[in-house]
Amino acid sequence: MTARRVVRVLKQIGLYSAAAAFTGLAVFPFYWMLVTAFKEDNDLYVAATMRAHIPWIFNEPPTLEHFQYLLGDTAYLAWVRNTILVGAAVVVITLVLAVPAGYALARLTGRWGERLGIGIFLTYLIPPTLLFIPFSRVIAVLGLQNSLWALVLVYPTFTIPFCTWLLMGFFRSIPRDIEEQAMIDGYSRLAAMRLVVLPLAVSGVLTAAFFSFTLVMQEFVYALTFISSVGKMTVSLGIPVALFRDVFNWGAMMAAALITSVPIAIVYNLFIDRFVGGLTAGAVKG
């Protein structure tokens, strides 16, 4: 009896230390962002060979100077604005195209639609890396170099496939009966979709919008290729590229990374289950 209890306690200890280890690994860089963002430069730039100076903690009182510098003397707010503008435009384009497409694949196109749906999803796997070189050519021909419009044009290439797939899953999860009932109740297929299916898919549409926006926020390669002037950058480009010019700028850079990523990370957790559900629907069901 006692031996069993010991085993149980050991198991509990094992479980908690494993959980702690994984959490530590995941969180460590964020902790480092946090500490760096609020440290005085004197406290930051002490060579790691100095054993007496512990880099893990605040050796001097925390400071807001990096944030003041970031908001006052850099283009950070312009990057935030650019990101929001591009993100909003991409979300609108994506939803306008992906909502009807997802519905069509879920309900109207039968078996060939299922194949096509998988095909569309696979285009999501064609990475920016394969396309950024020809795109640079296309963008040049269109005269969109160093323009946010280039990003607005290109980003839907991955948000549309992704959201079409996600929304297809959501529409499939709504019982067919309900829209068939609407069709019997005097509505066309299109009206049934608009009046009955869409209101029931609001959470799915929100999820798609959110993920489109985060995909835009995370994108780096196209932004790096198309945007050259600091004032036109997005956050994911401006922070590492424009702030990096000054080597001893880690405080401001980490401050920017922190206030950019934490809000997204928090909202992300609200949506992740639906995201995974939609993404793995095929594989998990089988």
Binding site: F22, T109, L116, R189
Partner: protein, 314 residues
């Protein structure tokens, strides 16, 4: 027996809506119409550059000029003979395989931990997901700072704890730089894989798991003979995504090492960027990037197989 307004509805029906089928009723046509805009957008904006990528790789195109002269396979023969390219291809494979093997192990372990009931589980899950949610470029900068040659907190900690008295030039030494890149890739992709595997575990019917427990199977037998086989399709999906994200990623290498030291840590993406965009040789850049295609085709085929199996199974 009657109802109020008995005969009116049909009359009104005729007046208010078309009695005959309209476009909005025709499912086949409607399906195509609703699908067409998204489909055309993707075909135009992905398909055209994709074809252009192939054309460019056979041409002497340079950025700035609009020339498009055909050079056949010369880019390919040049880059295959180029030791820098061979190294780059090898790096891409090493980074991808090493990180994804680690991710598979870590994610399965982490999913098993998160599947158990313990206090603070929700918080742990949320924190473990952070690396995936954050823009890669920002996370990469945080790691670049952690690996800083003078101020690395890792080096300080190793010394202070007495584990290692030497000095690790993380991003200045070829092997250490490669390890650093793998660490960042693992850190970045394991949360997603964990969540996917966790979803897969939740999808295993409870009866099957309970039956295995009742049958007296040990933890390891349960793991290898019940859980892992059932999880295989899901783990495969997670790994395939990981492979795509890792093998095609430019930002981690670009931001951590810029391909250095001495171009020793380049991957296909960063080399293509260096030669094609920075160096202006679009043709060669396109040819380098195209070497990612075979891997992506394999991934796509495996995905299709899985999807078909799910279709048959459903």
């Amino acid at each position: 027996m009657a109802q109020p307004n008995e005969a009116q509805p049909l009359v009104q029906l005729a007046a208010a809506t078309f009695r005959r089928r309209t476009l909005a009723d025709r499912e086949g046509v409607l399906g195509r119409l609703l699908l067409a805009p998204a489909f055309l957008y993707v075909i135009l904006v992905v398909g055209v550059p994709f074809v252009l990528a192939i054309l460019l790789s056979f041409s002497a195109a340079r950025s700035g000029s609009l020339s498009f002269s055909w050079v056949g396979l010369s880019h390919f023969s040049t880059i295959i003979a180029d030791p820098q390219f061979q190294l780059t291809l090898r790096n891409t494979l090493v980074f991808t395989i090493a990180s994804q093997v680690l991710v598979m192990i870590l994610a399965t372990a982490a999913a098993n931990v998160l599947d158990a009931a313990f206090f603070g589980k929700r918080a742990v899950r949320m924190l473990i997901l952070l690396p995936w949610a954050v823009p890669v470029s920002l996370a990469a900068m945080s790691w670049a700072w952690i690996f800083d040659s003078t101020f690395s907190v890792i080096n300080w900690t190793l010394r202070a704890s007495g584990l290692f008295q030497g000095w690790l030039y993380w991003l200045g030494d070829t092997e250490l730089a490669m390890i650093a890149i793998i660490i960042v890739h693992v850190w970045r992709t394991f949360p997603f894989a964990t969540v996917v595997v966790l979803a897969g575990m939740a999808a295993i019917p409870l009866e099957i798991r309970e039956a295995a427990v009742i049958d007296g199977a040990s933890f390891w037998r349960r793991l290898f003979q019940v859980n892992l086989p059932l999880l295989l399709p899901v783990v495969t999906v997670a790994v395939l995504f990981g492979v795509v994200f890792t093998s095609t990623d430019l930002s981690v290498v670009y931001l951590l090492t810029r391909g250095g030291p001495y171009n020793s840590t380049h991957v296909l993406a960063s080399l293509a960027f260096q030669r094609g965009i920075l160096g202006g040789d679009l043709g060669q850049g396109a040819a380098i990037a195209l070497f990612l295609l075979p891997a992506l085709v394999v991934v796509a085929i495996v995905m299709l197989r899985l999807a078909r199996r799910a279709e048959v199974g459903a």
